[in-house]
């Protein structure tokens, strides 16, 4: 399948469902075959899905200015390919934070840095039109368009990497974005804790998915010290995001997740892993 993400797809016995023309009001998810809960090909939400919710929570640009990690100049590749892939993900996520902060200068720095990092990963041809569109939209302060182009940039980079047989690196781009996005989210939510805001962190499927993908990396990629730290970080975050449904993500957990993701972002940006 070219792009069919058949993760977590499992044949279910028809008997699980009532044989009525209408959908049954309840299914017993504990009786689904074990494979139904395996996470293989999860569709990772694009950052806009989360930032769209944050818009509705009434956060102000000033809330985001405080959590920006300003980029001075252009970010250049650091370390080996897995680290560069993680770094690219964090930079794209920084673009979303800059959009929330209504900071067009930073958005443009993000566009240039995305181009620099994607060149190092051999996917710059795929990203050039997006980087240009991001810059143009930032000039016009068309924030919805910037966000849309950042989403597309992330997807284009991943597709280009898959074409180059670098699917594992494409997952690291997603993960890098998730780590920086989560760092920013926990900082904002931590500064003004609400259960609704913290609930956005309840992402057990994604954490399980990232863990599975990290476990499946090639030995050479796994031995990268930054990747090892990320693997440990994901392991430590999993119990904090509320593995069971209906469990609130506490203020303490939000702070702990922020500490872990903050350390990871520093590692990913570090020249000496």
């Amino acid at each position: 399948m070219k792009k069919a993400l058949a993760l977590a797809l499992v044949a279910l016995p028809v008997s699980v469902f009532a044989a009525t023309p209408d959908a049954p009001h309840h299914i017993d998810v504990t009786k689904l075959p074990d494979q139904a809960r395996l996470i293989d090909n999860v569709v990772v939400p694009v950052p806009s899905e989360i930032f769209g919710v944050l818009d509705k929570l009434g956060l102000r640009p000033g809330d985001w200015v405080a959590v920006q990690r300003p980029i001075s100049g252009v970010i250049h590749p650091t370390g080996e390919q897995p680290q560069i892939a993680l770094l690219l993900g964090t930079v794209i996520a920084e673009g979303f934070v800059a959009v929330e902060a209504r900071d067009s200068a930073q958005v443009k720095q993000v566009g240039k840095s995305v181009l620099s990092l994607s060149t190092a990963l051999d996917v710059n041809d795929a990203i050039k039109p997006r980087a240009l569109a991001i810059t143009q939209a930032a000039d016009k302060k068309d924030w919805a368009k910037v966000r849309e182009e950042l989403d597309h940039a992330l997807e284009d980079v991943k597709k280009a990497m898959i074409r180059l047989n670098s699917e594992s690196l494409s997952q690291l781009v997603s993960l890098g974005g998730w780590i920086r996005g989560t760092e920013a989210l926990t900082a904002v939510v931590g500064n003004n804790y609400t259960k609704d805001g913290a609930e956005l962190l309840h992402q057990p499927v994604l954490l399980e998915y990232f863990k599975t993908r990290l476990d499946g990396l090639k030995p050479k990629e796994k031995s990268n010290p930054v990747v090892t730290r990320v693997q440990n970080g994901v392991r430590d975050i999993r119990p904090l995001i509320g593995l069971a449904d209906g469990v609130d993500v506490s203020e303490k957990s939000v702070r702990e997740i922020n500490g872990i993701t903050s350390d990871l972002v520093k590692s990913i940006n570090s020249k000496v892993p």
Binding site: M1, V10, V14, H26, D28, V29, V42, V43, L57, L200
Partner: protein, 144 residues
């Protein structure tokens, strides 16, 4: 020698079952995206990623997917088999039907959900009727 290479590649791709499967899942996706089209005008952003495969009649598949409270989602399912009857339904992690509406038409099925909680949801897709032994399907989604 050069002119044999394309032939070898074509034969190889058929022997691997690549071309027919791609063509048909892509066709199913085209229908799913056609179903999505009116909702784009309502402000829904359609994801490029999608799920797909083929199913025998009366067989379902479950897809576990993360949804966020505060968003509204539509899931659109398509098939290239006009005579098939397909369905998609959405359940929360406790197994309760979570969708607020759903519909079925030839080639299409869709379901809408406004999640009450952020977390994991089960998307249950089914081929209810079809003249084919296995029916290709595809599922796309959008949010706003």
């Amino acid at each position: 020698m050069k002119r044999f290479v394309p032939l070898v590649l074509v034969l190889l791709s058929f022997s691997l079952g690549i071309c027919p499967a791609h063509a048909t899942i892509d066709d199913a996706l085209s229908f799913a995206l056609e179903a999505a089209d009116p909702y784009v005008k309502e402000g829904f952003t359609v994801r490029e990623d999608y799920w797909g495969g083929d199913l025998p009649v009366k067989t379902t598949k479950a897809i576990v997917h993360q949804l966020f409270k505060g968003n509204e989602y539509w899931f659109w399912m398509g098939t290239d088999q006009k005579a098939a009857k397909i369905s998609v339904h959405i359940y929360d992690s406790a197994g309760n039907l979570a969708e607020t509406e759903s519909w079925q038409k030839p080639h299409f099925a869709a379901a809408r959900v406004v999640p009450k909680k952020t977390g994991s949801y089960y998307l249950i897709v089914e081929v209810e009727k079809s003249p084919d032994e296995r029916t290709f399907w595809s599922l796309a989604y959008g949010f706003k």
